[in-house]
């Protein structure tokens, strides 16, 4: 084995793996690797990394291109794109509200997130202002409420304990959801501030948490194990996040 006259640098190892090395140096690097097991191991691990990346992400490139990315569709209507605030664009349709949303949203492949949050915010707006009949089953019958909603919805509905954020369970009701029944729980603080938790079957396993706001109401949406959650209430994001985290943590614990 002849040691190359000039030692091989780390940059050259990378360049070797990435086919960026000048051809005349390739033989030197290969000889070097035979006598330097640590470098050989690194080179091997980088190749394995590339394989893992392709194994994980190539399937995305092989998926059929979603309709909303078809160029024909994109050149047609000069819509108002808000660059850099993609999150905001997700909420644009929600602003239309339930039924209207369906009508003009049809062309735009509504995401689970949009449909859900729209429904939940509608329910929140409708019932949060209700003084005498905000719920069907009062919070004093928590066990009955949970058992009933669990039976009707088909997943374990638990009313989380939110006293840590100063919220008390008012009660709950059953609502029509995007694909079957939805459970709707209402909480109230001493000052009358109301938060609601809307859950329904989501055709998505797990998503990140997202925020939407409209008409002075804020909502956080996420999905976990096929169930979508929307916590609606204040537009104060910190407050909303605090409540949502409690809900999330307790659902996590309950779900195992």
């Amino acid at each position: 084995m002849t040691e190359p006259k000039i030692p091989v640098t780390e940059d050259e190892l990378h360049a070797y793996v990435d086919n960026e090395l000048p051809a005349e140096r390739k033989g030197d690097v290969e000889a070097w690797l035979e006598t330097h097991p640590e470098d050989a191991e690194r080179v091997h691990s980088w190749r394995a990394m590339a394989e893992a990346l392709h194994a994980r992400y190539d399937s995305v490139a092989n998926e059929p291109v979603p309709k909303r990315l078809e160029l024909e569709r994109l050149v047609r209507p000069p819509r108002k794109w808000v660059y850099g605030t993609i999150a905001a664009s997700l909420f644009a349709f929600v602003a239309g509200g339930g039924a209207g949303w369906m009508a003009h949203g049809a062309a735009a492949t509504p995401s689970v997130f949009q449909a859900f949050t729209g429904d939940a915010l509608d329910a929140h707006r409708l019932y949060a202002v209700e003084v005498r009949h905000p719920v069907e089953v009062p919070g004093s019958e928590r066990d009955h409420l949970q058992a009933w909603l669990t039976k009707r919805c088909g997943w374990a509905v638990r009313a989380p304990e939110l006293t840590a954020t100063g919220l008390k369970l008012v009660g709950g009701r059953l609502l029509p959801g995007p694909s079957g029944p939805a459970s709707f729980l209402m909480y109230e603080s001493a000052s009358g501030e109301r938060f609601t938790i809307y859950t329904a079957k989501a055709n998505t396993e797990t998503t990140q948490m997202r925020y939407a706001a409209q008409d002075g109401q804020g909502a956080l949406f996420w999905a976990d194990r096929g169930v979508g959650y929307v916590v609606s209430g204040s537009t104060d994001r910190e407050r909303l996040t605090q409540v949502a985290k409690l809900v999330y943590d307790q659902a996590e614990k309950a779900g195992g």
Partner: protein, 162 residues
């Protein structure tokens, strides 16, 4: 369809793959691709030849930078959960690599993906990021070391659970 549009269209699958690896969330990734395409189509007349591929990656990379900047100002979504992995046999492995990627700083993740997943040259990546080739190489080296450590650090923990 113009030759320009055809070359843009041919890039959509690769852009989706890159965006998905870059931001993890499938919806946000496709939003990024959509914004990239809209911007590219709008600038059709401004495009004076050159490599459409690099140009599209450049737009996407910049849009993502802006997105992150605006998210930093307004904390609108918080990744509390692992995103759903693609249903493949190597699910756990896929999750490992996704998690390891998430620990990288933005520029390093972009370099790593552009070189290792998208197969771009150092020179192309340097142009996309607007930095010298030496910077690309040092970002790549750091990213690889970091991901390697993250992947190796995870394995003993997984074994212990069993």
């Amino acid at each position: 369809m113009s030759a320009f549009r055809q070359s843009v269209e041919a890039m959509i699958p690769a852009l989706r793959r890159y965006a998905r690896a870059l931001v993890r969330d499938a919806d946000i990734a496709d939003d990024l691709v959509q914004d990239t395409l809209v911007r590219a189509l709008r600038s059709e007349r401004l495009f004076l030849g050159g490599d459409v591929r690099s140009w599209l990656y450049t737009i996407l990379t910049n849009l993502n930078k802006n997105r992150r900047r605006s998210l930093a100002r307004r904390p609108q979504f918080m990744p509390l959960l692992e995103n759903n992995p693609d249903a493949s046999g190597t699910e756990a492995e896929g999750r490992d690599i996704a998690r390891a990627l998430a620990t990288l700083v933005e520029e390093q993740r972009a370099v790593l993906l552009l070189v290792m997943l998208e197969g771009l040259s150092y020179r192309e990546v340097a142009e996309i990021q607007g930095v010298p080739i030496g910077t690309v190489m040092s970002r790549l080296a750091r990213a690889r070391a970091h991901v390697k450590a993250a992947l190796e650090g995870e394995r003993p923990a997984l074994r212990r659970v069993k």
